[in-house]
């Protein structure tokens, strides 16, 4: 159809305009449907959670059933420890495997590793929990923070690997060549030039993986298990924010429900903050180098 026929035929033009506005409306509707649940969750959690939030929540241990008050200090500390253990496993393994795929491996090996990474990122998190249960909890004969952190670390690996690989691939080949042409060795080029140039993107990936792991409940159910007491040694069962929320939410007590809302609010707020940091980091990246 040529331009002239559109101009000559006004009904055709009207039909096109209608189709255009209908499709545009559908797009807007889809966008609203995407945003709505998030906004709803955010406002509802804030509304229900903030009122139960007080200084005790961050400093006190859970009170026994029947007693009012108490907090989730142990769960907040526990989550931090679990994520710390997870990060110690997930970040180095993820970044190093990303470097290997992008910089060193032959194409068929990198295809295989990339495929396996994709599959791993699709494995349900509860399966990863069972895996950690099998190789750490059973031999140790007890639930532990170590097992929980291990499960979270496994969950972080695919995200970090993928983002590292993609960010390194974005680094222009000319920079690698420039460095090598100065008589700099391959590994130093990778470390000081390639990785450094891609670092802001990799930081983004790491933060996203941490935010994701912070909210995971399923893999902790039979690894870290949860704990109502103050516990910082990593070979013992340990409380975690999502676990505590789960336990409190299914309890029959109103006070515990309120605390679960407060916990949910804290968790969402943390994830939100991490995402915000990611935004700022990425914005710097694209306005600056690369």
């Amino acid at each position: 159809m040529t331009t002239s026929s559109i101009l000559k035929n006004p009904s055709n033009l009207r039909r096109r305009k209608i189709t255009n506005s209908v499709m545009l409306m559908l797009c807007i509707l889809a966008a609203i449907i995407t945003i709505l649940p998030l906004l709803y969750i955010f406002f509802y959690t804030t509304q229900s959670g903030v009122s139960s939030l007080n200084i005790d929540f961050f400093t006190q241990l859970p009170k026994p059933v029947g007693e009012e008050g108490g907090g989730m200090a142990n769960a907040i500390a526990g989550s931090a420890i679990l994520i710390g253990i997870g990060a110690m496993i997930g970040i180095p393994v993820g970044i190093l495997s990303g470097i290997y795929i992008s910089e060193y491996s032959k194409s068929f090996i990198s295809t295989i590793v990339k495929f396996i990474t994709d599959v791993l990122s699709g494995v349900p998190s509860i399966i990863v929990g069972i895996f950690a249960y099998g190789i750490i909890v059973i031999p140790m004969q007890r639930f532990s923070a170590l097992a929980g952190g291990f499960a979270l670390g496994i969950l972080m690996i695919p995200t970090i690997t993928k983002i590292t690989e993609e960010m390194l691939k974005l680094v222009p080949q000319s920079l690698r060549e420039a460095s090598l042409a100065l008589g700099v060795s391959r590994w130093k080029t990778t470390l000081k030039i390639v990785l450094k140039t891609a670092s802001s993107g990799i930081v983004t990936g790491v933060l996203l993986a941490i935010a994701r792991a912070a909210g995971e409940t399923a893999p902790l159910l039979f690894t870290s298990f949860g704990n109502s007491f103050w516990q910082t040694s990593i070979d013992e069962p340990m409380a975690a924010l999502p676990l505590q929320i789960f336990a409190y939410a299914i309890s029959p007590y109103d006070d515990w429900h309120r605390q679960a809302w407060a916990g949910a609010f804290v968790l969402i707020f943390l994830v939100f903050v991490v995402n915000l940091i990611v935004r700022i980091v990425t914005r710097n990246k694209f306005s600056g180098n690369l």
Binding site: S179, A181, L182, G183, V184, T189
Partner: protein
């Protein structure tokens, strides 16, 4: 000016030189024997043999895809990075077989300036100049300062950047970036500098600055420059190699190449009949 210089010196008549000055002055900086590079099964360059004397500027010309860059990049072992590239034949750097060195040592001796200016985007102007030294573990600040200043002066950039050495290198203009890359290259004290169309991405004024540098650099370095620009080859080089379809068609003094070439193909190319 160039022509007069060459006429006066007349240094590149191969037979004469060796007798006049057998040892130091005219020894070969780079020579290749039957050098071929294959990508998969296709020969990008095919049995190229030539000898390049020390402290000369050699231009490599030829139509796109004739293997100019491939030839250049084989001289500092850049093909090591390309898994599908295979290199045959012999390369000698200062009469020593290139295989006697490892790639890192060769690349310290044989620097390279690329087509597109490629300063390290995460580094300041200063850090870019001394990048080769710092990355190789050299950290004495007072000496680095001196090296940075000296090399920025050599590359004619010092006056333009001396007040903003700590600003990002990517804030410079394209022509300045390229001179920064040249400063970075000479800071590691190479003996030979390979230039892969160093001014093809630059404006005429930046180009003339680069050409001026090349002209003066021959005192200290041996320069091999790939260029698409016939005038540039004529302006800066002492001798010119003409490559066509991976083969070395002619290699002779630039003046002769552009006025009275031996081969008909060369004549057709330099007069713009094809290419």
């Amino acid at each position: 000016m160039m022509d007069i210089e060459i006429l006066k010196e007349g240094v590149f008549d191969e037979a004469d030189d060796s007798e006049k000055n057998p040892e130091k002055e005219y020894k070969n900086a780079v020579s290749t024997k039957d050098l071929s590079v294959y990508f998969n099964k296709r020969a990008a360059i095919d049995k190229i043999s030539l000898k390049i004397k020390k402290n000369t500027v050699t231009a490599i010309i030829g139509p796109s895809g004739c293997g100019k860059s491939t030839f250049l990049r084989s001289l500092n072992l850049m093909h090591d990075l390309v898994p599908k590239a295979r290199v045959f034949g012999e390369i000698f750097i200062h009469n020593e077989d290139i295989n006697n060195f490892n790639a890192v040592d060769i690349r310290k001796k044989v620097g390279m300036v690329f087509q597109k200016p490629n300063p390290f985007p995460t580094m300041s102007i200063y850090d870019n100049v001394v990048a080769g030294l710092k990355l190789n573990g050299y950290h004495k600040k007072s000496e680095l300062d001196e090296i940075a200043e000296k090399n920025l002066k050599y590359s004619g950039l010092w006056e333009e950047v001396k007040d903003r050495l700590k600003t990002p290198a990517v804030s410079l203009s394209g022509g300045q970036q390229q001179r920064l890359c040249i400063a970075r290259t000479i800071a590691v004290k190479p003996e030979i500098i390979l230039m892969d169309e160093p001014s093809s991405a630059l404006d005429p004024i930046s180009t003339s600055k680069i050409e001026e540098l090349i002209y003066h650099f021959r005192e200290y370095y041996t320069i091999i420059i790939v260029t698409h620009n016939m005038q540039q080859a004529a302006r800066v080089s002492d001798q010119t190699a003409f490559l066509y379809l991976g083969k070395l068609i002619e290699f002779s003094k630039t003046r002769r190449m552009f006025t009275n070439p031996k081969e008909k193909l060369t004549e057709e190319y330099v007069t713009g009949k094809f290419g």
